[in-house]
Symmetry: C2
Subunit: 376 residues, 2 copies
């Protein structure tokens, strides 16, 4: 008797062992779709269903970005982009904190919320609270017709496709893509960037899918790193500026599926306490994706190396001198500082994936966690 | 031959085994001094050397609080107080991040910096950067004539007295005291609080030293908790709102001197990833000092308890029902939510102290750390 060794679930994994790995590999397509579906025939971003006019924008005195978990980490990247491009101060907040904070909200407030599922309860509560006080709500979500989408004034749908693994990957990078586009659109409308910079940045964004592809070609190299860190009790992610936000997401990813207690630090903050935890062999993953902060990062790497840390650096491929300070280096293609988070995130996803896999965990369904958090 | 078993150092410890314990016990005096030396004969806060008039305040459109390490954590409490009392939005930032962020600074910006030593290099650099752009600088420091004090427009000196232990304790609680006073003064000047509320809050602050004293009377009880957690690799602090900020400081304290990897979470954020780390016996220290968030905290405690966590709760003494959810409870005297951080911090200091002591660490001089960080 002949039996076929597959079921519906494994078939839908498209040959990958886990949904998470499949979804990591779907990122080039997901980012491309999220970007291209919002470009018109002139290559301009069309947020036509997002009806923020120049007049609307001039009235906005306060922008909040509110989300939970990975979506919050994406929001931190978005904050930088909006502040840098559009020169609008943005306050990021965790939804479960924002709800109870008595935030400064009125009719001149723009609330950007991010939720993959569009059903995150704390995020929904934040929307309702802000709406009651007159704020305008722009949501970024992956699920058409979700509660978040329905309750928002404007919606930017990411085109990530269904995300099944609890640990979010393609939702994260497409949320960042969406935030860059919103930032560029706001900035052009406000006149804080030139058309030249606008189109130049869009062109650089168009190269992101292929650059992610190049990182993924060497995905299996990261298995070695996973082998090296799998028995650690603790690990640290370090970064400065945008790299610090990527570090936060990298740490969340590694801890939620490998169960290694991983914490992210602003690299300059380490010497104010946490460096006491660095022992011989403690894994420290240093993200050095910001050209402007590169020298500072190198000294922070030296600090932890001097205390015996096992240093894994994530750097742009033209930055070879980092090898002298690191035990391992994972390179990503060169890219503008502001866009680097889309690339540097990918190795952090792979480190988490392979570490979880090698430890024999259920990668897609980590203990204690649900995909969409619809409880408080 | 008769020898006396003491040296200058141990003598200056005043009978305590370590400076840290001495400094923890000095907090009632330090808080009292910081408060009373700034009250005039009518019981009003006198910030006469801090020359912010109503006109000055009306011009201020942006307030940053910038610091490193423990001082940053104090700043997070100050942020709440200033936002709540004076209705001025405040943006907190880590000095080593702020320096490189291109923050929104002009002549209408007030920069509040906090540094115990007044020599923290990143904080000094932040002052210089902000000054160059025209911001007004108000500093909170413990050292008269320090660089931070000299380079600021206005200075609020804490009266903590010399702090020798690397792990900051009395500097932290006096910095918070200073921030409450600044918040009350700004609020009264702006007219966002009534005189009645102002004096009522000052009167409640006057009771803080004695309430801290009462917590310290039972300090030795915390040895039992230290025994229970000393062999853990990981620990977590949880809190919501102001308790989350206290959790951050508690986690920093525990990790820097006990070398247990301790991380703080906004309690509502736990289910977005970190709860995967909770195993049977994982110590979770839950701060439940906010009346308004108490029920929410109870459910978060139940969540971690259900995953096997060993729960140590820090709660107000009238909140006995928390015992049913907790393995241990440390009570602090009842107090207004906004002032609770001064009290709830004390048990976190004692947990860190006794855990470090029982582990045989050099409590006052943790590995890899310096008291005052004068390098980048």
């Amino acid at each position: 008797k002949f039996t076929v060794d597959w079921d519906v679930e494994s078939a839908s994994k498209g040959g990958y062992d886990y949904f998470m790995l499949k979804e990591i590999h779907e990122q080039p397509t997901a980012i491309r779709e999220t970007l291209l579906r919002r470009l018109d025939e002139n290559g301009k971003i069309k947020l036509d269903d997002i009806k923020l006019t120049k007049e609307d924008l001039e009235k906005i005195t306060k922008v909040y970005i509110v989300a939970c978990g990975t979506a919050y980490n994406a929001g931190l990247i978005g904050r930088y982009a909006i502040e840098k491009f559009a020169q609008i101060p943005v306050e990021p907040d965790i939804a479960s904190e924002f709800r109870y904070r008595e935030p400064f909200i009125d009719q001149n407030t723009l609330l950007i919320v991010i939720s993959q599922s569009g059903e995150t309860l704390d995020t929904l509560a934040a929307i309702r609270e802000a709406k009651r006080k007159g704020a305008r709500i722009l949501s970024i979500t992956n699920v058409v017709g979700s509660s978040v989408a329905r309750e928002s004034d404007d919606v930017f749908y990411t085109w990530a496709g269904p995300e099944v693994a609890v640990a979010s990957t393609k939702a994260y990078t497409t949320q960042i893509t969406a935030l860059y586009m919103i930032a560029l659109d706001l900035a052009l409308t406000k006149g804080t960037i030139t058309e030249e910079f606008y189109f130049d940045t869009i062109n650089k964004m168009k190269e992101l899918p292929e650059k992610v592809e190049r990182i993924l070609e060497n995905a299996e190299d990261i298995k070695k790193i996973a082998e090296d860190i799998k028995d650690s009790q603790s690990a640290f992610y370090l970064g400065r500026g945008l790299d610090y936000q990527t570090a936060m997401e990298g740490a969340l990813k590694l801890k939620e599926i490998s169960y290694i207690h991983t914490e992210a630090f602003a690299a300059g903050e380490l010497k104010h306490g946490t460096i006491a935890l660095i022992e011989d062999g403690t894994p420290v993953i240093a993200i050095a994706g910001q050209e402007s902060l590169y020298e500072k990062m190198l000294s922070n790497i030296q600090e932890v190396k001097a205390r015996g840390a096992y240093v894994i650096s994530i750097a742009k491929e033209s930055k070879k001198e980092i090898e002298a300070q690191s035990d391992r280096v994972i390179y990503v293609p060169d890219v503008d500082d502001i866009l680097a988070p889309v690339l540097t995130a990918v190795p952090t996803q792979l480190i988490a994936y392979y570490t979880s896999l090698i430890k024999g965990n259920d990668v897609d369904k980590p203990r204690n966690l649900a995909k969409s958090v619809t409880v408080e």
